[in-house]
Assembly symmetry: C2
Homo-oligomer: 242 residues x 2
């Protein structure tokens, strides 16, 4: 049985017509990054990591499995943010490119070329901890991209990233979402830089600091030692995380 045949048989273990796409955000060198994957058979095109749900697993279990397979990370919190269900979002040609031509008439493919509705999730992960794995059935390469310098993306994945980013920005306003993007302790300036990078704009230092302190989610620790004691900034950590 060749790889394509194996893949086709494996499809039988999955629920048809529903896919999951994950927008995995990381923060590194003051850049907001997105984890993308390139599939060998789709020349030059990058996609969001994701996949199908197995018949025997709940959606939450499927998410855990995908994140572990694709990033090596466990216990990642994912937020569901949208449904992508346009009639023509997955073309038959796209599917055929994934599968060797001798399998193009295989009846096991019909549903794929028919309709696939995708559920969008985003996750915030610690950039340095991601060790992308190679997925079993495909020849795939993973890479982080700056959110402002994305490559050409397959299907509607550019729209999915955009909607994920909009949701993340909206969430910043009422709930702290930076838990996994910063180290255990950080300065107010580092926190502000994270917010500015996600929002894509500069913020006023005074009002940012006031807003963060008003949210009552930060615990102030000792000053960060920088050699100049009177100018040393305080270190903070998230109360929920301590």
């Amino acid at each position: 049985m060749d790889a394509a045949e194996t893949a086709l048989n494996v499809f039988d273990n999955y629920i048809k017509h529903i896919a999951i796409d994950c927008v995995i955000f990381g923060f590194h060198n003051n850049e907001l990054k997105v984890l993308l994957v390139k599939i060998k058979n789709l020349d030059g095109c990058w996609m969001l990591p994701g996949g199908f749900i197995q018949r025997a697993e709940g959606v939450d279990e499927a998410l855990d499995r995908m994140l572990k397979d694709r990033t090596g990370l466990t216990n990642i919190h994912l937020e569901q943010f949208g449904i992508f269900g346009d009639v023509n979002r997955v073309s038959r040609n796209f599917i055929l490119n994934l599968i060797p031509s001798e399998h193009h008439d295989d009846s096991r493919l019909n549903w794929l070329a028919g309709r696939v509705i995708s559920i969008g999730y985003y996750a915030l992960v610690e950039y340095s901890k991601v060790k992308p794995k190679v997925y079993e059935f495909y020849d795939e390469a993973f890479e982080w991209f700056n959110i402002n310098e994305l490559p050409t993306l397959s299907l509607d994945h550019k729209d999915i990233i955009q909607k994920g980013l909009e949701t993340l920005r909206m969430m910043l306003d009422y709930k702290l979402v930076g838990f996994d993007l910063l180290p255990e302790t950080f300065t107010m300036q580092e926190l502000q830089k994270l917010y500015e990078t996600i929002l894509g704009k500069e913020l006023r230092r005074d009002s940012f600091q006031r807003k963060m302190l008003d949210m009552n989610i930060l615990e102030r620790l000792e000053k960060k030692y920088t050699g100049a004691a009177n100018k040393a900034p305080y270190l903070y950590r998230f109360k929920d995380k301590s």
Copy 2:
């Protein structure tokens, strides 16, 4: 062809394994209401209105169709808020109860008893405008229920309502969602009552008024004539709606 046979054939026009459930909120007599439907074959159990997506329609079109069929309303804004995908959320018995016994071995039913993942949406509608229709293939009755006095619900629909309500409450904090729940013009007191009803708790009058005015979304109109001019409250309307 009997009704069940017709229904079974109609299933072929729908995408398998994915359903939509709508939590339709209305506001009436200072009560938050939810629109539920009772299906004849499911004795005593109520469900959320929803349904399956047709192969030839996008998810957004499916939502428009369902809302129009079930409530008679058009141009309703729906917010997607969750995915309900536990392995055992739809039991085979539940499906069999819906279909006459002579059709229980029909292969067209297998996927239904297998796995159905539901996408949760909520809508806020003007209570007085809802004219629930009877759905073509089933004997169904629609009814509004007070959110605090829900009947026994099928499947995981109680959880879906709860999650929809939590999302609605969360949204109140950063975005005005009451557009369709109030008449064109209203007093600050009426707006506060709406918020209190959705949140399930009383709010302080001064801070509520300040918060609403700070949001800069209300247009103040003339005073409401009540006979006692000096105590007449101002009327407001939403800026976006004018």
